[in-house]
């Protein structure tokens, strides 16, 4: 089955993004496909490379990056939600005159159309949030 995933909450405060990670790992292990993960609301905060938790804590952003690299998963951060919350790639930095970028490896910033497309293209869209 082809899944897409929507993540509506940021890391650490809410369980949602770790649950989404666990779901994706289980789905892949069972032979399913993950077409796209779309990060919305505070979920965009999963995609900042500036995340630096204590060493005995999980680094959620790095976990997403590693998963994307290993399984070639499309991690998409909503541009409107990202602009409100300060998630910046090179294009956004140039457009909005920011001094740097913080998008984590394996993530890309794009529009809400990517979420709708994920709903159309996938057999199931699973939403993780409160």
């Amino acid at each position: 089955m082809k899944f897409s995933i929507q993540v509506n909450e940021g890391p650490y405060t809410h369980q949602a993004s770790v649950s989404a990670l666990n779901f994706i790992k289980a789905a892949l292990a069972a032979g399913h496909e993950v077409f796209r993960v779309f990060f919305y609301h505070d979920g965009v905060n999963n995609g900042t490379s500036y995340t630096t938790p204590p060493q005995d804590d999980i680094n959620i952003a790095n976990t997403w990056s590693a998963l994307a690299k290993e399984h070639d998963i499309d991690l998409v951060v909503c541009v409107a939600a990202a602009q409100r919350r300060g998630i910046v790639d090179e294009g956004e930095a140039e457009r909005n005159k920011k001094s740097g970028t913080n998008i984590a490896d394996g993530f890309r910033i794009s529009g809400l159309g990517q979420l709708i497309e994920a709903g159309i293209e996938s057999d199931r869209l699973v939403v993780f949030g409160d």
Partner: protein
Amino acid sequence: MSEIKKFCYLNRTAPYGTVYAWESLEVVLIGAAFDQDCSLVFVDDGVYQLLKGQDTTDLGIKNFSPTYSALGDYDIKKIYVEKESLEARGLTVDDLQHLVWEDEDDDWAERDSIILVTKNELAKVIDEQDVVLSF
């Protein structure tokens, strides 16, 4: 992408206090461009989103409620509101904005968009959807 799917936007939260309601509406407006079969559902505190006469002056937050009246122009014709959620909050459909769409097959006559449903009827509506986006 020629396949038409049934998309349902499930709104459960009050309009202010969290951003879910406003950012849900942003998805609805973008999603309308994809020509899918679109339904909006308002349950629990989500019914407050459709209240008429919203004034956010003292909140210091943008009042986005006028946007709901534009949904008809985006070809959104099915807005389900759960009866039990209204009743539990002492509200009736008269407390909500009068939302309409224009029927091009009938000389652009205005039709009501809001469909009042019971919890059981709503469960059936949601069961018929292909994609449920929950906010």
